[in-house]
Protein backbone atom coordinates (compact mmCIF):
# COMPACT_ATOMS: atom_id res chain seq x y z
CA UNK A 1 0.00 0.00 0.00
CA UNK A 2 2.84 2.33 0.96
CA UNK A 3 4.56 1.53 -2.35
CA UNK A 4 1.38 2.36 -4.26
CA UNK A 5 1.01 5.62 -2.35
CA UNK A 6 4.63 6.45 -3.05
CA UNK A 7 4.19 5.72 -6.76
CA UNK A 8 1.02 7.81 -6.87
CA UNK A 9 2.85 10.64 -5.14
CA UNK A 10 5.80 10.49 -7.54
CA UNK A 11 4.00 9.99 -10.83
CA UNK A 12 0.97 12.06 -9.86
CA UNK A 13 3.27 14.84 -8.73
CA UNK A 14 5.23 14.73 -11.99
CA UNK A 15 1.95 14.66 -13.94
CA UNK A 16 0.82 17.88 -12.26
CA UNK A 17 3.98 19.92 -11.71
CA UNK A 18 6.24 18.84 -14.57
CA UNK A 19 4.70 17.13 -17.60
CA UNK A 20 2.29 19.85 -18.87
CA UNK A 21 5.00 22.50 -18.60
CA UNK A 22 7.49 20.19 -20.30
CA UNK A 23 5.14 19.83 -23.27
CA UNK A 24 4.41 23.57 -23.33
CA UNK A 25 8.10 24.47 -23.17
CA UNK A 26 8.35 23.10 -26.74
CA UNK A 27 5.77 25.65 -27.84
CA UNK A 28 8.07 28.46 -26.74
CA UNK A 29 11.46 26.96 -27.48
CA UNK A 30 12.24 24.33 -30.11
CA UNK A 31 14.37 21.35 -29.18
CA UNK A 32 17.73 22.82 -30.16
CA UNK A 33 17.06 26.36 -28.93
CA UNK A 34 17.58 25.70 -25.22
CA UNK A 35 19.47 23.25 -23.04
CA UNK A 36 17.93 20.82 -20.56
CA UNK A 37 18.55 23.12 -17.57
CA UNK A 38 16.33 25.79 -19.08
CA UNK A 39 13.83 23.14 -20.14
CA UNK A 40 13.58 21.83 -16.55
CA UNK A 41 13.13 25.32 -15.09
CA UNK A 42 10.44 26.12 -17.66
CA UNK A 43 8.70 22.77 -17.19
CA UNK A 44 8.19 23.27 -13.46
CA UNK A 45 7.36 26.97 -13.77
CA UNK A 46 4.89 26.50 -16.61
CA UNK A 47 3.16 23.50 -15.00
CA UNK A 48 2.71 25.24 -11.66
CA UNK A 49 1.36 28.30 -13.48
CA UNK A 50 -0.86 26.55 -16.03
CA UNK A 51 -2.62 24.02 -13.80
CA UNK A 52 -4.32 26.49 -11.40
CA UNK A 53 -5.06 28.87 -14.29
CA UNK A 54 -6.81 26.24 -16.39
CA UNK A 55 -8.60 24.46 -13.51
CA UNK A 56 -9.90 27.74 -12.10
CA UNK A 57 -10.94 29.04 -15.54
CA UNK A 58 -12.84 25.85 -16.38
CA UNK A 59 -14.54 25.90 -12.98
CA UNK A 60 -15.50 29.53 -13.46
CA UNK A 61 -16.68 29.21 -17.07
CA UNK A 62 -18.43 25.84 -17.04
CA UNK A 63 -18.77 25.21 -13.31
CA UNK A 64 -16.53 22.20 -13.87
CA UNK A 65 -16.28 19.99 -10.81
CA UNK A 66 -12.73 19.63 -9.56
CA UNK A 67 -12.57 15.85 -9.28
CA UNK A 68 -10.18 13.12 -10.40
CA UNK A 69 -11.65 12.74 -13.90
CA UNK A 70 -11.93 16.44 -14.72
CA UNK A 71 -8.54 17.36 -13.29
CA UNK A 72 -6.86 14.51 -15.18
CA UNK A 73 -8.63 15.57 -18.37
CA UNK A 74 -7.53 19.17 -17.83
CA UNK A 75 -3.89 18.14 -17.42
CA UNK A 76 -4.13 15.80 -20.43
CA UNK A 77 -5.84 18.58 -22.40
CA UNK A 78 -2.95 20.92 -21.70
CA UNK A 79 -0.46 18.30 -22.84
CA UNK A 80 -2.49 17.51 -25.98
CA UNK A 81 -2.79 21.20 -26.91
CA UNK A 82 0.99 21.48 -26.76
CA UNK A 83 1.52 18.30 -28.81
CA UNK A 84 -1.01 19.36 -31.47
CA UNK A 85 0.61 22.80 -31.71
CA UNK A 86 4.09 21.33 -32.07
CA UNK A 87 2.95 18.80 -34.69
CA UNK A 88 1.07 21.49 -36.64
CA UNK A 89 4.14 23.71 -36.55
CA UNK A 90 6.35 20.84 -37.66
CA UNK A 91 4.03 19.84 -40.53
CA UNK A 92 3.82 23.44 -41.74
CA UNK A 93 7.62 23.55 -41.64
CA UNK A 94 7.80 20.25 -43.54
CA UNK A 95 5.35 21.58 -46.14
CA UNK A 96 7.42 24.74 -46.47
CA UNK A 97 10.61 22.69 -46.89
CA UNK A 98 8.94 20.45 -49.48
CA UNK A 99 7.71 23.48 -51.46
CA UNK A 100 11.18 24.99 -51.31
CA UNK A 101 12.71 21.76 -52.62
CA UNK A 102 10.13 21.61 -55.42
CA UNK A 103 10.84 25.16 -56.52
CA UNK A 104 14.62 24.57 -56.44
CA UNK A 105 14.10 21.39 -58.45
CA UNK A 106 11.90 23.21 -61.03
CA UNK A 107 14.45 26.01 -61.37
CA UNK A 108 17.26 23.55 -61.92
CA UNK A 109 15.26 21.91 -64.76
Amino acid sequence: MAILDGMRLFFGGLFVIFVPGFAWSYIFFARKNIDWIERIALSFGLSIALIPLSVFWLNWLFNMKINLLNTSLTVCGLIIIAIVYILAKRSSRTKYAANRLKSIFRRSR
Partner: protein, 534 residues
Amino acid sequence: MMEKVARIIELSYLELVVIFLILTLLKALNTIVLPINYLLFPVILALLAIPLLLRLKPYEEKRLPFVPIILMVTFMFAFGVRMLPLAGNTIPLGYDPGFYKYAMELYINTLPQIPEAGLADWIKEMYPQGLFVLSDALHILAGTDAMMLIKYFFPFIGALLVFPLFVVASSLFGQRAGIIACVLYAISYTQFNVFTMLYFKNVLGLLFLLLGIHALEKKKDLLMTVMFAAMGIFHRPEFLLFALILIPYFILHRRKGMVLSVVGTAILILPFWIPRWEINMAMLSGVLNTAVTNIQTGEGLGGGTFFSLDIYTKVSLAYLPFAIIGATYLVIKRNLNSILFYFVISSIIVLCQLFFFKRFIILLDISIVILAAVGINYTLLHRSGIWKITGIVAGILLLVSTALPTITLAKDVRPLIREDQLEAVVWIRENAEDNAYVLATSNDAPWVLGWSGRRTIAPGLFEWNIYNKDEWINFFKTKDPEVAKEFLEVYDGPVYIYYSKTFGNYLGLEKFQGDIFRKVYDNGAVVYKYDGDG
Protein backbone atom coordinates in the same frame (compact mmCIF):
# COMPACT_ATOMS: atom_id res chain seq x y z
CA MET B 1 49.70 58.85 -17.25
CA MET B 2 45.99 58.12 -17.07
CA GLU B 3 46.73 54.52 -17.89
CA LYS B 4 49.15 54.29 -14.95
CA VAL B 5 46.67 55.84 -12.53
CA ALA B 6 43.99 53.42 -13.73
CA ARG B 7 46.33 50.45 -13.15
CA ILE B 8 47.19 51.64 -9.63
CA ILE B 9 43.48 52.00 -8.79
CA GLU B 10 42.80 48.55 -10.22
CA LEU B 11 45.46 46.97 -8.02
CA SER B 12 44.14 48.89 -5.00
CA TYR B 13 40.71 47.48 -5.79
CA LEU B 14 42.09 43.98 -5.82
CA GLU B 15 43.86 44.41 -2.48
CA LEU B 16 40.89 46.06 -0.87
CA VAL B 17 38.59 43.25 -2.02
CA VAL B 18 40.73 40.72 -0.19
CA ILE B 19 41.03 42.88 2.95
CA PHE B 20 37.28 43.51 2.93
CA LEU B 21 36.42 39.83 2.57
CA ILE B 22 38.86 38.81 5.32
CA LEU B 23 37.32 41.41 7.63
CA THR B 24 33.83 40.23 6.71
CA LEU B 25 34.79 36.63 7.42
CA LEU B 26 36.30 37.57 10.78
CA LYS B 27 33.12 39.48 11.56
CA ALA B 28 30.98 36.48 10.58
CA LEU B 29 33.13 34.30 12.83
CA ASN B 30 32.77 36.90 15.60
CA THR B 31 36.57 36.89 15.95
CA ILE B 32 37.45 40.49 15.14
CA VAL B 33 34.79 43.15 14.72
CA LEU B 34 36.40 46.50 13.98
CA PRO B 35 34.69 49.67 15.25
CA ILE B 36 34.16 50.94 11.71
CA ASN B 37 31.16 51.22 9.42
CA TYR B 38 31.51 48.18 7.16
CA LEU B 39 29.05 49.69 4.72
CA LEU B 40 31.76 52.10 3.60
CA PHE B 41 33.47 49.20 1.87
CA PRO B 42 30.78 48.62 -0.76
CA VAL B 43 30.89 52.28 -1.74
CA ILE B 44 34.69 52.50 -1.84
CA LEU B 45 35.02 49.20 -3.70
CA ALA B 46 32.43 50.28 -6.26
CA LEU B 47 34.32 53.54 -6.82
CA LEU B 48 37.65 51.77 -7.19
CA ALA B 49 36.14 49.31 -9.64
CA ILE B 50 35.01 52.06 -12.04
CA PRO B 51 38.33 52.37 -13.98
CA LEU B 52 38.37 48.61 -14.33
CA LEU B 53 34.80 48.55 -15.60
CA LEU B 54 35.48 51.38 -18.04
CA ARG B 55 38.42 49.50 -19.55
CA LEU B 56 36.60 46.19 -19.62
CA LYS B 57 36.47 44.86 -23.17
CA PRO B 58 33.60 42.73 -24.40
CA TYR B 59 34.61 39.11 -24.59
CA GLU B 60 33.14 35.82 -25.68
CA GLU B 61 32.70 33.49 -22.76
CA LYS B 62 33.49 29.87 -23.40
CA ARG B 63 30.93 27.29 -22.40
CA LEU B 64 31.93 25.97 -19.02
CA PRO B 65 32.36 22.29 -18.33
CA PHE B 66 30.45 20.55 -15.53
CA VAL B 67 27.67 23.18 -15.39
CA PRO B 68 24.92 20.57 -14.90
CA ILE B 69 26.92 18.88 -12.14
CA ILE B 70 27.60 22.18 -10.35
CA LEU B 71 23.94 23.08 -10.64
CA MET B 72 22.80 19.72 -9.30
CA VAL B 73 25.20 20.03 -6.35
CA THR B 74 23.91 23.56 -5.68
CA PHE B 75 20.32 22.32 -5.87
CA MET B 76 21.12 19.42 -3.50
CA PHE B 77 22.82 21.79 -1.07
CA ALA B 78 19.90 24.23 -1.12
CA PHE B 79 17.44 21.36 -0.62
CA GLY B 80 19.56 19.70 2.07
CA VAL B 81 20.00 22.87 4.07
CA ARG B 82 16.23 23.36 3.95
CA MET B 83 15.55 19.81 5.09
CA LEU B 84 18.08 19.99 7.92
CA PRO B 85 15.73 21.68 10.44
CA LEU B 86 13.11 19.02 9.69
CA ALA B 87 15.43 16.16 10.66
CA GLY B 88 14.04 14.63 13.85
CA ASN B 89 11.25 17.16 14.00
CA THR B 90 7.73 16.83 12.65
CA ILE B 91 6.63 20.45 13.12
CA PRO B 92 7.19 22.90 10.27
CA LEU B 93 9.05 26.15 10.89
CA GLY B 94 7.67 29.66 11.06
CA TYR B 95 4.48 31.34 12.18
CA ASP B 96 2.48 30.61 9.03
CA PRO B 97 2.09 26.79 8.83
CA GLY B 98 -1.25 26.90 10.64
CA PHE B 99 -2.63 29.50 8.23
CA TYR B 100 -1.52 27.51 5.19
CA LYS B 101 -2.74 24.20 6.61
CA TYR B 102 -6.13 25.69 7.44
CA ALA B 103 -6.57 27.34 4.04
CA MET B 104 -5.38 24.29 2.07
CA GLU B 105 -7.67 21.96 4.04
CA LEU B 106 -10.54 24.38 3.56
CA TYR B 107 -10.04 24.17 -0.21
CA ILE B 108 -9.58 20.39 -0.14
CA ASN B 109 -12.67 19.85 2.05
CA THR B 110 -14.79 21.95 -0.31
CA LEU B 111 -13.92 19.83 -3.34
CA PRO B 112 -15.27 19.38 -6.02
CA GLN B 113 -15.90 23.13 -5.84
CA ILE B 114 -13.78 26.17 -5.05
CA PRO B 115 -14.95 27.78 -1.79
CA GLU B 116 -14.62 31.34 -3.11
CA ALA B 117 -18.00 32.67 -1.96
CA GLY B 118 -17.75 31.29 1.55
CA LEU B 119 -14.22 32.47 2.26
CA ALA B 120 -13.57 34.87 5.11
CA ASP B 121 -12.17 38.27 4.21
CA TRP B 122 -8.82 37.61 5.89
CA ILE B 123 -8.25 34.58 3.64
CA LYS B 124 -9.16 36.60 0.56
CA GLU B 125 -6.75 39.33 1.65
CA MET B 126 -3.88 37.03 2.59
CA TYR B 127 -4.13 34.23 0.09
CA PRO B 128 -4.72 34.52 -3.67
CA GLN B 129 -6.28 31.38 -5.10
CA GLY B 130 -3.34 30.00 -7.14
CA LEU B 131 -1.52 27.97 -4.51
CA PHE B 132 -4.72 26.45 -3.16
CA VAL B 133 -6.09 25.38 -6.53
CA LEU B 134 -2.68 23.81 -7.17
CA SER B 135 -2.89 22.04 -3.81
CA ASP B 136 -6.36 20.76 -4.84
CA ALA B 137 -4.93 19.32 -8.07
CA LEU B 138 -1.99 17.74 -6.26
CA HIS B 139 -4.32 16.30 -3.63
CA ILE B 140 -6.57 14.75 -6.26
CA LEU B 141 -3.87 13.37 -8.55
CA ALA B 142 -0.88 12.74 -6.27
CA GLY B 143 -2.65 12.19 -2.95
CA THR B 144 -0.77 14.96 -1.16
CA ASP B 145 -2.12 16.69 1.93
CA ALA B 146 -1.40 20.14 3.34
CA MET B 147 1.45 18.96 5.58
CA MET B 148 3.22 17.19 2.73
CA LEU B 149 3.15 20.35 0.67
CA ILE B 150 4.36 22.47 3.59
CA LYS B 151 7.12 20.10 4.65
CA TYR B 152 8.44 18.79 1.35
CA PHE B 153 7.06 20.68 -1.65
CA PHE B 154 7.96 24.08 -0.20
CA PRO B 155 11.68 23.31 0.41
CA PHE B 156 11.79 21.59 -2.98
CA ILE B 157 10.52 24.71 -4.75
CA GLY B 158 12.91 26.85 -2.69
CA ALA B 159 15.84 24.73 -3.87
CA LEU B 160 14.48 24.50 -7.42
CA LEU B 161 14.86 28.28 -7.78
CA VAL B 162 18.54 27.73 -8.58
CA PHE B 163 17.49 26.64 -12.09
CA PRO B 164 15.47 29.71 -13.17
CA LEU B 165 18.07 31.88 -11.47
CA PHE B 166 20.79 30.23 -13.54
CA VAL B 167 18.69 30.55 -16.68
CA VAL B 168 18.15 34.30 -16.20
CA ALA B 169 21.67 35.15 -15.07
CA SER B 170 23.44 33.00 -17.66
CA SER B 171 21.33 34.16 -20.59
CA LEU B 172 22.02 37.81 -19.73
CA PHE B 173 25.54 37.68 -18.34
CA GLY B 174 27.10 34.32 -19.22
CA GLN B 175 27.29 30.89 -17.64
CA ARG B 176 29.88 31.78 -15.02
CA ALA B 177 27.71 34.61 -13.67
CA GLY B 178 24.81 32.17 -13.69
CA ILE B 179 26.70 29.64 -11.60
CA ILE B 180 27.88 32.30 -9.12
CA ALA B 181 24.31 33.62 -8.77
CA CYS B 182 23.02 30.11 -8.03
CA VAL B 183 25.68 29.46 -5.41
CA LEU B 184 25.00 32.83 -3.75
CA TYR B 185 21.29 32.06 -3.72
CA ALA B 186 21.85 28.63 -2.16
CA ILE B 187 23.88 30.10 0.70
CA SER B 188 21.95 33.37 1.08
CA TYR B 189 20.88 33.97 4.67
CA THR B 190 17.95 36.07 3.45
CA GLN B 191 16.59 33.33 1.21
CA PHE B 192 17.04 30.76 3.94
CA ASN B 193 15.10 33.01 6.27
CA VAL B 194 12.27 33.02 3.73
CA PHE B 195 12.21 29.28 4.18
CA THR B 196 12.29 29.38 8.00
CA MET B 197 9.33 31.77 7.95
CA LEU B 198 7.44 29.56 5.51
CA TYR B 199 6.80 32.26 2.91
CA PHE B 200 5.38 29.70 0.51
CA LYS B 201 3.70 32.11 -1.92
CA ASN B 202 6.80 34.28 -1.96
CA VAL B 203 8.99 31.46 -3.25
CA LEU B 204 6.50 30.52 -5.96
CA GLY B 205 6.19 34.20 -6.86
CA LEU B 206 9.97 34.38 -7.26
CA LEU B 207 9.90 31.37 -9.57
CA PHE B 208 7.39 33.12 -11.83
CA LEU B 209 9.15 36.47 -11.56
CA LEU B 210 12.45 35.01 -12.76
CA LEU B 211 10.81 33.11 -15.61
CA GLY B 212 8.78 36.24 -16.46
CA ILE B 213 12.00 38.26 -16.72
CA HIS B 214 13.52 35.52 -18.86
CA ALA B 215 10.50 35.59 -21.17
CA LEU B 216 10.65 39.39 -21.34
CA GLU B 217 14.32 39.38 -22.35
CA LYS B 218 13.78 36.58 -24.87
CA LYS B 219 10.74 38.39 -26.33
CA LYS B 220 8.51 35.38 -25.66
CA ASP B 221 5.29 37.26 -25.09
CA LEU B 222 2.96 34.31 -24.56
CA LEU B 223 5.32 32.82 -21.99
CA MET B 224 5.51 36.20 -20.29
CA THR B 225 1.71 36.37 -20.23
CA VAL B 226 1.48 33.02 -18.43
CA MET B 227 4.17 33.95 -15.89
CA PHE B 228 2.76 37.42 -15.26
CA ALA B 229 -0.70 35.94 -14.71
CA ALA B 230 0.79 33.30 -12.38
CA MET B 231 2.31 36.08 -10.28
CA GLY B 232 -1.14 37.67 -10.10
CA ILE B 233 -2.79 34.51 -8.80
CA PHE B 234 0.01 33.35 -6.49
CA HIS B 235 1.65 36.40 -4.90
CA ARG B 236 0.73 40.02 -5.56
CA PRO B 237 4.03 41.75 -4.57
CA GLU B 238 5.88 40.02 -7.43
CA PHE B 239 2.98 40.91 -9.73
CA LEU B 240 3.29 44.56 -8.73
CA LEU B 241 7.07 44.53 -9.08
CA PHE B 242 6.94 42.93 -12.52
CA ALA B 243 4.32 45.48 -13.60
CA LEU B 244 6.64 48.26 -12.43
CA ILE B 245 9.58 46.69 -14.29
CA LEU B 246 7.54 46.60 -17.49
CA ILE B 247 6.96 50.38 -17.47
CA PRO B 248 10.58 51.56 -18.03
CA TYR B 249 11.26 48.49 -20.17
CA PHE B 250 8.36 49.38 -22.45
CA ILE B 251 9.42 53.05 -22.66
CA LEU B 252 12.85 51.87 -23.77
CA HIS B 253 11.87 49.09 -26.17
CA ARG B 254 8.29 49.92 -27.21
CA ARG B 255 7.39 46.39 -28.22
CA LYS B 256 3.79 45.84 -29.28
CA GLY B 257 3.97 42.28 -27.97
CA MET B 258 4.38 43.59 -24.44
CA VAL B 259 1.07 45.42 -24.62
CA LEU B 260 -0.65 42.30 -25.92
CA SER B 261 0.98 40.33 -23.13
CA VAL B 262 -0.35 42.73 -20.49
CA VAL B 263 -3.83 42.52 -22.01
CA GLY B 264 -3.57 38.72 -22.06
CA THR B 265 -2.53 38.72 -18.41
CA ALA B 266 -5.47 40.91 -17.47
CA ILE B 267 -7.83 38.46 -19.21
CA LEU B 268 -6.20 35.41 -17.60
CA ILE B 269 -6.45 36.75 -14.05
CA LEU B 270 -9.95 38.14 -14.51
CA PRO B 271 -11.88 35.22 -12.94
CA PHE B 272 -9.47 35.21 -10.01
CA TRP B 273 -9.73 38.93 -9.39
CA ILE B 274 -13.42 39.60 -10.09
CA PRO B 275 -14.71 37.90 -6.89
CA ARG B 276 -12.07 39.78 -4.90
CA TRP B 277 -12.19 43.03 -6.81
CA GLU B 278 -13.12 45.23 -3.84
CA ILE B 279 -10.56 43.61 -1.56
CA ASN B 280 -7.78 43.87 -4.15
CA MET B 281 -8.62 47.49 -4.95
CA ALA B 282 -8.76 48.33 -1.25
CA MET B 283 -5.35 46.70 -0.81
CA LEU B 284 -3.94 48.59 -3.77
CA SER B 285 -5.24 51.92 -2.49
CA GLY B 286 -3.94 50.95 0.96
CA VAL B 287 -0.50 50.36 -0.55
CA LEU B 288 -0.59 53.75 -2.30
CA ASN B 289 -1.80 55.53 0.85
CA THR B 290 0.93 53.87 2.92
CA ALA B 291 3.53 54.94 0.36
CA VAL B 292 2.29 58.54 0.42
CA THR B 293 2.15 58.60 4.24
CA ASN B 294 5.63 57.10 4.51
CA ILE B 295 7.04 59.63 2.05
CA GLN B 296 5.38 62.53 3.90
CA THR B 297 6.13 61.45 7.45
CA GLY B 298 9.04 59.03 7.11
CA GLU B 299 7.34 56.77 9.65
CA GLY B 300 7.99 53.55 7.75
CA LEU B 301 4.53 52.04 8.28
CA GLY B 302 3.28 48.78 6.74
CA GLY B 303 6.69 47.19 6.23
CA GLY B 304 5.41 43.62 6.55
CA THR B 305 6.99 40.89 8.62
CA PHE B 306 10.63 40.28 7.78
CA PHE B 307 13.94 41.49 9.12
CA SER B 308 14.94 45.11 8.62
CA LEU B 309 17.26 46.65 6.05
CA ASP B 310 19.82 47.08 8.83
CA ILE B 311 20.02 43.34 9.36
CA TYR B 312 19.95 42.72 5.63
CA THR B 313 23.04 44.86 5.06
CA LYS B 314 24.82 42.85 7.76
CA VAL B 315 23.94 39.40 6.44
CA SER B 316 24.58 40.24 2.80
CA LEU B 317 27.64 42.38 3.45
CA ALA B 318 30.04 40.04 1.66
CA TYR B 319 28.28 40.25 -1.72
CA LEU B 320 26.75 43.71 -1.46
CA PRO B 321 29.78 45.58 -2.95
CA PHE B 322 29.81 43.31 -5.97
CA ALA B 323 26.13 43.96 -6.58
CA ILE B 324 26.80 47.70 -6.66
CA ILE B 325 29.72 47.03 -9.01
CA GLY B 326 27.46 44.85 -11.19
CA ALA B 327 24.82 47.58 -11.36
CA THR B 328 27.51 50.20 -12.14
CA TYR B 329 28.81 47.96 -14.92
CA LEU B 330 25.36 47.75 -16.50
CA VAL B 331 24.94 51.53 -16.32
CA ILE B 332 28.42 52.19 -17.77
CA LYS B 333 27.79 49.76 -20.63
CA ARG B 334 24.27 51.20 -21.07
CA ASN B 335 22.91 47.71 -20.72
CA LEU B 336 19.54 48.82 -19.36
CA ASN B 337 17.97 45.39 -19.02
CA SER B 338 15.13 44.16 -16.85
CA ILE B 339 17.46 43.03 -14.04
CA LEU B 340 18.75 46.58 -13.66
CA PHE B 341 15.18 47.91 -13.52
CA TYR B 342 14.30 45.15 -11.08
CA PHE B 343 17.23 46.16 -8.84
CA VAL B 344 16.48 49.90 -9.04
CA ILE B 345 12.73 49.57 -8.38
CA SER B 346 13.05 47.12 -5.49
CA SER B 347 15.88 49.25 -4.01
CA ILE B 348 13.68 52.35 -4.14
CA ILE B 349 10.82 50.50 -2.40
CA VAL B 350 13.12 49.17 0.32
CA LEU B 351 15.37 52.20 0.84
CA CYS B 352 12.58 54.79 0.72
CA GLN B 353 10.39 52.49 2.86
CA LEU B 354 7.46 52.97 0.49
CA PHE B 355 5.23 49.96 1.22
CA PHE B 356 5.71 46.36 2.30
CA PHE B 357 9.38 47.29 2.26
CA LYS B 358 10.64 44.60 4.61
CA ARG B 359 9.08 41.87 2.49
CA PHE B 360 10.54 43.46 -0.64
CA ILE B 361 14.00 42.74 0.83
CA ILE B 362 13.41 39.14 -0.26
CA LEU B 363 12.88 40.29 -3.85
CA LEU B 364 15.70 42.80 -3.68
CA ASP B 365 18.07 40.08 -2.51
CA ILE B 366 17.48 38.07 -5.69
CA SER B 367 18.44 41.04 -7.89
CA ILE B 368 21.45 41.70 -5.64
CA VAL B 369 22.54 38.08 -5.96
CA ILE B 370 22.41 38.29 -9.77
CA LEU B 371 24.21 41.63 -9.92
CA ALA B 372 26.82 40.46 -7.39
CA ALA B 373 27.49 37.50 -9.67
CA VAL B 374 28.02 39.96 -12.53
CA GLY B 375 30.36 42.10 -10.39
CA ILE B 376 32.40 39.12 -9.20
CA ASN B 377 32.63 37.64 -12.67
CA TYR B 378 33.63 40.81 -14.53
CA THR B 379 35.98 42.34 -12.00
CA LEU B 380 37.68 39.27 -10.59
CA LEU B 381 37.26 36.09 -12.57
CA HIS B 382 37.41 36.87 -16.26
CA ARG B 383 41.06 37.95 -16.24
CA SER B 384 44.13 35.80 -15.96
CA GLY B 385 47.15 35.64 -13.66
CA ILE B 386 47.08 37.36 -10.27
CA TRP B 387 43.52 38.55 -10.91
CA LYS B 388 42.17 35.08 -11.35
CA ILE B 389 44.01 33.70 -8.30
CA THR B 390 42.83 36.63 -6.17
CA GLY B 391 39.36 36.17 -7.62
CA ILE B 392 39.26 32.52 -6.58
CA VAL B 393 40.56 33.33 -3.07
CA ALA B 394 38.04 36.16 -2.79
CA GLY B 395 35.31 33.81 -4.00
CA ILE B 396 36.14 31.26 -1.31
CA LEU B 397 36.22 33.95 1.41
CA LEU B 398 32.91 35.28 0.17
CA LEU B 399 31.29 31.85 0.14
CA VAL B 400 32.45 31.00 3.63
CA SER B 401 31.45 34.33 5.18
CA THR B 402 28.01 34.21 3.52
CA ALA B 403 27.34 30.53 4.16
CA LEU B 404 28.41 30.58 7.80
CA PRO B 405 25.39 32.42 9.26
CA THR B 406 23.05 30.45 6.99
CA ILE B 407 24.36 27.06 8.12
CA THR B 408 24.34 28.21 11.76
CA LEU B 409 20.71 29.24 11.38
CA ALA B 410 19.85 25.93 9.68
CA LYS B 411 21.43 24.09 12.60
CA ASP B 412 19.80 26.15 15.34
CA VAL B 413 16.39 27.09 14.01
CA ARG B 414 13.48 25.50 15.88
CA PRO B 415 9.73 25.48 15.34
CA LEU B 416 7.79 28.13 17.26
CA ILE B 417 5.83 25.44 19.09
CA ARG B 418 6.98 22.27 20.86
CA GLU B 419 5.68 18.77 20.14
CA ASP B 420 3.91 18.51 23.52
CA GLN B 421 2.28 21.90 22.99
CA LEU B 422 0.99 20.85 19.58
CA GLU B 423 -0.29 17.61 21.12
CA ALA B 424 -2.54 19.73 23.33
CA VAL B 425 -4.08 21.25 20.19
CA VAL B 426 -4.55 17.78 18.72
CA TRP B 427 -6.21 16.78 22.01
CA ILE B 428 -8.73 19.58 21.47
CA ARG B 429 -9.43 18.32 17.94
CA GLU B 430 -10.07 14.83 19.26
CA ASN B 431 -12.06 15.75 22.38
CA ALA B 432 -13.79 19.08 21.88
CA GLU B 433 -17.40 19.34 20.70
CA ASP B 434 -17.85 20.09 17.00
CA ASN B 435 -19.48 23.45 17.73
CA ALA B 436 -16.76 24.51 20.19
CA TYR B 437 -14.57 27.58 19.91
CA VAL B 438 -10.94 27.80 20.96
CA LEU B 439 -9.55 31.01 22.35
CA ALA B 440 -5.81 31.56 21.97
CA THR B 441 -3.23 34.32 21.99
CA SER B 442 -2.01 35.59 18.64
CA ASN B 443 1.20 33.57 19.22
CA ASP B 444 -0.72 30.32 19.50
CA ALA B 445 -3.60 31.14 17.18
CA PRO B 446 -2.19 29.84 13.84
CA TRP B 447 -1.41 26.44 15.39
CA VAL B 448 -4.83 26.25 17.00
CA LEU B 449 -6.52 27.26 13.74
CA GLY B 450 -4.58 24.74 11.66
CA TRP B 451 -4.60 21.76 14.00
CA SER B 452 -7.69 21.99 16.23
CA GLY B 453 -10.31 21.93 13.50
CA ARG B 454 -12.38 24.35 15.60
CA ARG B 455 -13.33 28.00 15.24
CA THR B 456 -10.51 30.05 16.70
CA ILE B 457 -10.93 33.28 18.62
CA ALA B 458 -7.76 35.37 18.73
CA PRO B 459 -6.93 39.08 18.99
CA GLY B 460 -7.00 40.75 15.57
CA LEU B 461 -7.26 37.46 13.70
CA PHE B 462 -9.94 35.45 11.91
CA GLU B 463 -13.63 36.00 11.35
CA TRP B 464 -14.74 34.80 14.80
CA ASN B 465 -13.08 37.65 16.66
CA ILE B 466 -15.65 40.31 17.56
CA TYR B 467 -13.58 42.41 19.97
CA ASN B 468 -11.35 45.40 19.37
CA LYS B 469 -7.83 45.96 20.67
CA ASP B 470 -8.84 47.72 23.92
CA GLU B 471 -11.36 45.00 24.79
CA TRP B 472 -8.69 42.35 24.28
CA ILE B 473 -6.23 44.26 26.47
CA ASN B 474 -8.85 44.44 29.23
CA PHE B 475 -9.46 40.71 28.86
CA PHE B 476 -5.76 39.93 29.12
CA LYS B 477 -5.32 42.21 32.15
CA THR B 478 -8.29 41.09 34.22
CA LYS B 479 -7.99 38.53 36.99
CA ASP B 480 -11.75 38.42 37.55
CA PRO B 481 -13.40 35.18 36.30
CA GLU B 482 -16.72 37.03 35.90
CA VAL B 483 -15.18 39.48 33.43
CA ALA B 484 -13.66 36.57 31.51
CA LYS B 485 -17.06 34.84 31.51
CA GLU B 486 -18.76 37.97 30.13
CA PHE B 487 -16.13 38.09 27.41
CA LEU B 488 -16.79 34.51 26.34
CA GLU B 489 -20.52 34.05 26.88
CA VAL B 490 -21.40 35.87 23.64
CA TYR B 491 -20.19 32.80 21.75
CA ASP B 492 -22.87 30.20 21.05
CA GLY B 493 -21.05 27.10 22.23
CA PRO B 494 -18.40 25.84 24.61
CA VAL B 495 -15.13 27.75 24.52
CA TYR B 496 -11.75 26.10 25.12
CA ILE B 497 -8.92 28.34 26.20
CA TYR B 498 -5.53 27.23 24.89
CA TYR B 499 -2.30 28.60 26.27
CA SER B 500 1.17 27.31 25.36
CA LYS B 501 3.70 27.81 28.09
CA THR B 502 6.14 29.67 25.90
CA PHE B 503 8.36 32.59 26.81
CA GLY B 504 6.73 35.88 25.85
CA ASN B 505 3.26 34.39 25.52
CA TYR B 506 0.76 36.04 27.92
CA LEU B 507 -2.88 35.31 28.61
CA GLY B 508 -3.29 35.92 32.36
CA LEU B 509 -4.33 32.50 33.65
CA GLU B 510 -5.53 33.75 37.07
CA LYS B 511 -8.97 34.58 35.69
CA PHE B 512 -9.56 30.97 34.73
CA GLN B 513 -9.25 29.68 38.31
CA GLY B 514 -12.54 28.92 40.07
CA ASP B 515 -15.82 27.22 39.19
CA ILE B 516 -16.63 28.92 35.91
CA PHE B 517 -13.69 27.38 34.05
CA ARG B 518 -12.36 23.82 34.20
CA LYS B 519 -8.77 22.84 33.52
CA VAL B 520 -9.05 19.93 31.10
CA TYR B 521 -5.47 19.51 29.88
CA ASP B 522 -2.07 20.42 31.27
CA ASN B 523 1.08 19.15 29.60
CA GLY B 524 3.36 21.63 27.87
CA ALA B 525 0.26 23.68 27.22
CA VAL B 526 -2.76 24.26 29.37
CA VAL B 527 -6.37 24.01 28.20
CA TYR B 528 -9.36 25.37 30.13
CA LYS B 529 -12.96 24.82 29.22
CA TYR B 530 -15.86 27.24 29.53
CA ASP B 531 -19.14 25.37 29.05
CA GLY B 532 -21.16 28.40 28.08
CA ASP B 533 -24.79 28.81 29.06
CA GLY B 534 -25.44 25.12 28.66
